[in-house]
Amino acid sequence: MPSRLEHFTLLRTLAPVIRLLFGSFRDLLPIILVISFFQLAVLKQPIPDLYSLLGGILLVAIGLTLFVQGLEMGLFPIGESMAHGFARKGSLFWLLAFGFALGFGTTIAEPALIAVAKEAAEVAALGGMITDTPEQRSSYAIGLRLTVGLSVGVAIALGVLRIIKGWPIQYLILIGYFGVILMTFFAPAEIIGIAYDSGGVTTSTITVPLVTALGVGLASSIHGRNPVTDGFGLIAFASLTPMIFVMGYGMYRA
């Protein structure tokens, strides 16, 4: 009668997966509640295609579970291992180059940014900043994407430099906020909303964990740095500089 023991071991290997899956459902529960409440109680309409909705929620939960699992196995370890590698190598140049490449390379292909750049080109055409031809629009959109990519590259490189030097983050953020406010007074009115929004859309779901692991890994492998106070902050820069750069781009193209 080996079955009981086998069941037990099977359960033990499956237990973390089941716990994760359960956690994913818990994470999704608020969305399900909000949507059902508004659909049934406020709009007073039935939920269209209930089975498709349930199937979709199941997919989201499984996807989230796999993502979290992959995070701990792949994204976090590689980010940290590279941070340690760079710290051991001791070359500031290559570290900054890596930070820039990571910021630029991941942002330029970001689907959310492509969508925003297209909208921005529409606004620019409507506001008469560029002539309304497809060529002009696409050149405006590509210019904007390059600008945002550049700004995120600079942000990650600067953030890495901050971790190495141990500069307190608030002073750099203060300067950044000043930059945003200053640019707001000079940038064309049409670009301001897009510029402010562009800060939020630059960092994708896959970039964030990698960059976070890089920062934390660097801070923990450099003597005298604290992983909590010094390790975070890279994302903060990456969402601040695009605002300044995009407003600058708007002024340049106006």
């Binding site: 994470d27 909705l53 590698g85 960092t203 964990p209 990698l210 994302i235």
Partner: protein, 264 residues
């Protein structure tokens, strides 16, 4: 096989997202660091999980939540729903109360499901030795996003200027920074950027554009923006506030414990 086609198109999107990251990592690993990566099979397995997980996640969102969420955003901003048969020529901002409630609720709910935030919260919990709770941080961020979206909807309805809200927000953040515990500052600034990605952006964009195209006197092109900016600013305040509150609570308790000890 519609489902399969969808899944593969989402897989393609995710692969395109991962490709530049993979290229950069491989180039730097091979030519600059020149060191063997420890535990390579496990690492590659992890990347595989991330890619398949994201593809399933996107597929599920597109199949279930996005169409319904966008439909609801459209229906809730519809004048026929808001005012019944005959919409008035001018509307008061308070007539749109369901929008503010919906913005708050959907902002809160989507943030809790945001994978990037889950990642950062887990990391923060890990490196702080458990001092920063995963759920506590995520709830704090979600409340910030909820307030941000709700206020952003109010701004679109009233047509007030975006930059003044942002400037006042910056001043509040800087004042909080002076008082907040040092440990939380960098993490709080980060939480602004991680909140708005896969789940939140499409739904919130639909809400903003829907609202700006139905409120009299607003245009989606000029007034539809700004919700994402609000959703990235307010979590900074709520996370700083959460840490301040937690610190105050601990201090109060330790002062009380001290007093009790003195009394004995």
């Amino acid at each position: 096989m519609n489902w399969f086609e969808h899944f593969f198109s989402d897989l393609g999107t995710t692969l395109r997202d991962v490709l530049p990251i993979a290229v950069i990592i491989i180039v730097f690993q091979l030519f600059v660091l020149r060191r063997r990566v420890a535990n390579l099979p496990r690492l590659l397995g992890g990347f595989g999980f991330v890619i398949i997980g994201m593809a399933l996640f996107l597929q599920g969102l597109e199949q279930a939540l996005f169409p319904l969420g966008e439909l609801m955003a459209k229906q809730l901003t519809d004048p026929a729903f808001l005012f019944g048969e005959k919409p008035p020529a001018t509307a008061h901002w308070s007539d749109y109360y369901w929008i503010y409630v919906f913005g708050f609720a959907i902002g809160f709910a989507t943030t809790l499901a945001e994978p990037a935030l889950i990642a950062v919260a887990r990391k923060a919990n890990q490196v702080s030795g458990g001092a920063i709770g995963v759920l506590g941080l995520r709830y704090a961020v979600a409340i910030g996003v909820a307030v941000g979206i709700s206020l952003g909807c109010f701004r679109i309805v009233t047509g007030t200027s975006l930059q003044w809200y942002i400037i006042v927000g910056y001043v509040v953040v800087l004042l909080q920074t002076l008082k907040a515990p040092k440990m939380i500052i960098a993490l709080a600034y980060d939480s602004g950027g991680v909140t708005t990605s896969t789940v939140t952006v499409p739904l919130v964009t639909a809400l903003g554009l829907g609202l700006a195209s139905t409120v009299p006197g607003r245009s989606p092109i000029m007034d539809g923006f700004g919700l994402i900016a609000f959703a990235s600013l307010f979590p900074i305040m709520s996370v700083l506030g959460y840490a301040q509150l937690a610190e105050w609570w601990v201090n109060k308790k330790s002062v009380k414990a001290q007093e009790d000890e003195n009394a004995l």
